[in-house]
């Protein structure tokens, strides 16, 4: 083995020798991994989600309110009709009983 060959071999050995990692290597790697995990995509950001939820509610609210009002009005109209029917029956019954009383009184007289 010539001198040059030996020199090259030494250089290679020095280059490839095992070196211990720096003491804060693990901590640095973990910190970088955590940092990359904290980056949230646009669609998953709370503000985006809140905006989407707000828009959905805004889109759904008017028809829901309109439907609720329509039902309330229907119920009130039905209640009104029922009250008028009830009063009508009451009055008819009062008249019928009063007619019976009149009939019976005349019969007695």
């Amino acid at each position: 083995m010539s001198f040059e060959d030996k020199n090259f071999e030494d250089q290679l050995r020095r280059s490839l020798r095992r070196e211990a990692a720096p003491p804060d290597f693990a901590a640095t790697v973990l910190a970088r991994a955590a940092a990359s995990r904290n980056v949230i995509s646009f669609w998953r950001r709370p503000l985006t989600l809140a905006l989407a939820a707000g828009l959905s509610i805004a889109a759904l609210l008017p028809p829901t309110v309109a439907e609720y009002r329509r039902r309330q009005e229907e119920q009130a109209a039905e209640a009104r009709a029922q009250v008028l029917t009830a009063l009508s029956i009451t009055k008819t019954q009062l008249l019928r009983v009063s007619a019976k009383v009149q009939k019976n009184t005349r019969r007695t007289l």
Binding site: A76, Q82, V83, A86, T90, L95, V97, S98, A99, K100
Partner: protein
């Protein structure tokens, strides 16, 4: 504090429950050809009152129903006599008597029995009106719970589809006269 809460709960329950269990009258309508079953409690009356509109007629109906807690109607028509048991009306009659309702009209004939009850209040007003009418082929029960003025009912003549009291009583008078002649 506990006692007050218990009393309050009892009071709320007492006001929330209907005055009489009208389900007891359901038996009457088993063989009915036609039946009308109306249970209008406080919230329904309030809702109806809100939709009466603004007219003289509406105001008189409103003033009548605003003081009421409930209106209960059970009306059954049968296609032949003897299709219901008159004894099924007894729970209501017994209840009215037990609650010190006064009979202001009690008319009976061979096959008919009609009674009008009112609940007198200390201030000379009425706390309710009940009509129990049993005919051969018809049974009618009207129960109005709450402060009622009989004049208000008379005032409703012809209003909003409610039959005119004077017209009908005139008819009844004419019919009675014809029969006499």
């Amino acid at each position: 504090m506990k006692k007050i809460l218990i009393l309050l709960a009892a009071a709320v329950t007492a006001f929330a429950t209907p005055p009489f269990d009208f389900k007891q009258l359901d038996k009457l309508g088993v063989n009915a050809k036609e039946s009308t079953n109306l249970t209008l409690d406080g919230p329904v009356l309030k809702m109806a009152s809100g939709l009466m509109g603004k007219s003289k007629d509406a105001d008189s109906v409103k003033s009548l129903i605003d003081g009421l807690n409930g209106i209960y109607i059970r009306s059954f028509e049968f296609d032949a006599p003897g299709k219901y048991n008159e004894a099924d009306l007894e729970p209501l009659r017994t209840w009215l008597d037990s609650q010190h309702w006064s009979k202001i009209v009690d008319t009976r004939s061979d096959k008919e029995k009609s009674t009008i009850y009112v609940l007198p209040l200390p201030d000379g007003k009425f706390g309710g009106l009940a009509i129990v009418s049993a005919e051969e082929k018809e049974v009618n029960v009207v129960f109005i719970d709450g402060q009622i003025n009989m004049d208000d009912i008379a005032k409703l003549g012809g209003n909003m589809g409610i039959p005119d009291l004077s017209a009908l009583s005139n008819e009844a008078r004419k019919a009675a006269k014809k029969k006499e002649e």
